[in-house]
Symmetry: C2
Subunit: 214 residues, 2 copies
Amino acid sequence: MPKRVDHDLRRRQIGEALLRIASTRGLQAASMREVATEAGVSLRLVQYYFHTKQELLLGALAYLGEQLSARVEAHIRALGMPPTPRSLVYGTLTAILPTDAESRRLTRTYAAYYALVLAEPALAADHGATYPDLLERFLAGHLRTAQRSGQVDPDLDAPTTAAGLLALTNGLGSSVLGGQRDGDAALAILTYHLDRLFGGSPGGSAAGPAPEAS
Amino acid sequence: MPKRVDHDLRRRQIGEALLRIASTRGLQAASMREVATEAGVSLRLVQYYFHTKQELLLGALAYLGEQLSARVEAHIRALGMPPTPRSLVYGTLTAILPTDAESRRLTRTYAAYYALVLAEPALAADHGATYPDLLERFLAGHLRTAQRSGQVDPDLDAPTTAAGLLALTNGLGSSVLGGQRDGDAALAILTYHLDRLFGGSPGGSAAGPAPEAS
DNA sequence: ATTTTGATGATACGTTCGTATCAAAAACGC
DNA sequence: GCGTTTTTGATACGAACGTATCATCAAAAT
């Protein structure tokens, strides 16, 4: 048996090269040739692992989703264990806010794909609609938990509040990428709203364990 | 003197043809030839009025800004005269939420330009940064007025709240365009937050008439 | 060392793009 | 109807794109 190479790894290397181009110069600059150069491989190899460009775009989009999920998880973990409802909401939202180089890259790439999907809905058959939905339900669940433990006003509608928080964070992210304000200013606005929501007190106590992120 | 034609009008007709394409098929589908076809003129004429494509993109972006401003104004007016602080905030935010065909077209086009500007910042020299800023200051000012007249909690930070409302609206708009929810659901979430902000009571002196669907 | 798989190279096809260059025709105020 | 302006026509260029097709080279497991 001859040379063995992890095909999934190669595909990932090439796909992430595309994501790197998309984050800096946009998806329209991500031609097959440019991706090959960025990945340090030949054009022929890109064609070898992705028979068509649509395949490449879809594969890279999947990698982007994984990177985003990983960052959200890491951000939640960074706020201490075990996670409280507050740290889960806070960590999730601050993870997708472009405040550092990595989150800027992720959100810029996401924005590029978002525009592409708007023009060509066939690209995100179901990936685009379910992922934000999952995030929203995740937030709503923990908000409800926080309501039950008295950290959040129980009169609030949890799903509506969760949708509002996620939309707020996305909108703040857009304003940061658009150059309207910097990441710290956006983070300040987000924490202002979160602190108002969570009643100012650090709270948390020894509340019950929360559902798990996927 | 021979045939006289309003050059500004011609430029507008061509520019708006580009906006129409951008709203449905994205900016990458808006080639000079496609714009000419959409506008019902020859490619040569597009080149006559816009010497380069960048000129065309910039000109059309200006028209988009005018259309957006006009819609915001019309939406505010539709909420009754004279406008109250509440109707000004409500009208501004609902105007830029994709709830009907026109607002969907506007926000989709705006999203397409947003992605283009992210990849090519030279396109929106100052147009991109100042317009949302103006909107935000506009909202903050009327929020402060509402605070002084007791319709809004005076403990709130007006600029931060205004930035949050605008970001919330933009984020909700993105979720609508992305197919996560429909315009009515987004409008319900927005009004939920606005009603909480404005203390639930219709307030605003002689309570204004209900918003109108367009 | 042979065999199988991974990787490169060079190149080409057909399309579309932005842009440019000829020219001629059509419309309209005087 | 003259003359100026607007508009169209027919192409053409070079470049970049996605895709495809040759053949060859390198590497590693048996």
